[in-house]
Symmetry: C2
Subunit: 230 residues, 2 copies
Amino acid sequence: MAKQDRAIRTRQSILEAAAVVFDERGYDAATITEILARAEVTKGALYFHFASKEELALAVIDAQMATDLPAGEPGRTSKMQELVDMGMIFAHRLLVDPLLRGSVRLTLEHGSTNLNRSSPFNGWTELHTRVLEEGKERGEVLPHVVPADTAELIVGAYAGINTMSQAINKRADLERRATVLYEHVMPSVAVPSVLARLDMAPGRGARALAEAERRRAAAQVPEVTPAGVA
Amino acid sequence: MAKQDRAIRTRQSILEAAAVVFDERGYDAATITEILARAEVTKGALYFHFASKEELALAVIDAQMATDLPAGEPGRTSKMQELVDMGMIFAHRLLVDPLLRGSVRLTLEHGSTNLNRSSPFNGWTELHTRVLEEGKERGEVLPHVVPADTAELIVGAYAGINTMSQAINKRADLERRATVLYEHVMPSVAVPSVLARLDMAPGRGARALAEAERRRAAAQVPEVTPAGVA
């Protein structure tokens, strides 16, 4: 293994270990010592990649935007399905991906520190705005919709159902709550002919990923790397 | 001042001081010492009312349900306006009421402790469910609406726009975000004739409180106590 590959893997192990510790303890209570123990790396290795706990937390926060959501893939029925899929796939992955869970906890925790949590909100809002604007160009979106407002609403509301699901039953019902959100909001966003064909039902996250997988296989595009889907 | 009145006021001062400290520092970093200094009471007085920091935090959390929202008042145009007003008045009060701010922070902070945060989510959900059920009986609600699902969605989504507003600009735009939420959700909830008459615009919180005040004056009902509107 080349020196550079090893460095990338070490960085990834540290990030994943940190995400688990942040998810379990929160930012304030998490310690570098515990992250080191879980990542099984030396203090020197950790500080080579991240100068401080804060820098580590910011990298974990940013990792939620780096997860390989199949946005903009060809073969989707509509841009509005793509919009819904962002949330449905996120709900699905949150149950299986510790890095995403740590990132979400740090983002939604209104902690005592000055950790800047606005970056995922802004990142997701930009992504949603872009998809809504593209949908508008294709005639999928109702005329009164202001893409940036709708984007901010969906991102904010989604964060809230996530927090509520966490507070009430450890996120076990997030997918069902995401379905209820889209069922209430999409009739105010999509034109009826597009709305009627949207799949917003629980399980859509897994279905969308399976569809993307089939499209990739059919197109004989090389598979995404494990890091990309983790 | 009777002994009992004094005890009630002392309890209220402690609660308000605790709310400010929790809002500024978060649950984990807040100390009893700081709360004592801000409330200007003795340690003995504090422990007479609250056995621990946890008990104090739970009382602050519960205080958000005790704030005197004029729910169920006569003179409202519709139950759906009452539904919208719960959120618009909340946004208005959050800017002026430190006790509510502390309560909201504790509720939305996914802290490292086992503090039970589900109570306001459940309380608000029950209140929203009741208003939706009453609206349904009066023919204000679309037939496919399941009151408990819609109630949970609105409460969860509201919590999220609150968190996002906090993360991005210290809640300065919460009212505008609440307006965007209701504009997107209410068309999927209220029948068109009721929808057309809803006031969901920014400033509705202050307008609803002023209307309630005028109705009270007209009915010559005694004013609510300062504690009730604080």
